[in-house]
Point group: C2
Chain length 121, copies 2
């Protein structure tokens, strides 16, 4: 798949709330995922598909997603970017909030090999 | 200015090739600019408006810009992103090529405080 094809598929699946399906289908086994900040005692980076899927499973288990809006993708060479706006409730605290973030993805050989998220902390 | 207003102004000026004017008007004195890779012996990061303007002046002096296409902006909270596609000639080598890159910007108090570029190296 070209960068554009990977980008279009990722945005389509994420807009449907199918985040884990998107990771399974489009991420390289060597995916590196970089958050804007590190969790307490942790790292900004998750490496490898198993670690990234586990991060996604934790997120999915702990959030109720009321709506997802994805803008983009915008493609440039081997990279693409999109914005995510999600209305979610963090279940352990019953706290509802809006997440807004920019994501940048790098594609190699038809798979996403790196993702990085940018948001206000 | 809101993030959207800063984003719209940056994209407009850059699409007109007015890169230095955009930096002067929209960047914080404490701007941090991060390239995808470091130059030989150098750093990926430039800090402060003077350093970032100097980087821009070097770039402008060494490239003939035949066309600029900007896609975006896409805004999420305090961040926005855009894609740049430029047809340029690197003057010292007379080498003409197309640059495609994703840029992510962070806005605080109406000024751009951080920019990072993503492209294939």
């Amino acid at each position: 798949m070209t960068t554009q094809e990977v980008a279009d598929k990722l945005v389509k699946l994420c807009a449907e709330g199918k985040f884990q399906e998107a990771s399974q289908a489009l991420y390289s086994p060597e995916i590196v995922s970089v958050e804007a900040g590190a969790p307490p005692g942790g790292s900004r980076e998750s490496k490898g598909l198993a670690a990234v899927m586990a991060k996604g499973e934790w997120w999915t288990a702990n959030h109720d997603v009321h709506s997802v809006k994805v803008e983009g993708p915008v493609v440039a060479g081997s990279h693409f970017t999109a914005a995510f706006k999600m209305d979610v409730t963090f279940k352990p605290q019953g706290r509802r909030f809006t997440m807004e973030e920019i994501a940048v993805y790098q594609v190699a050989d038809g798979k996403i090999v790196r993702e990085e998220f940018f948001y206000h902390m």
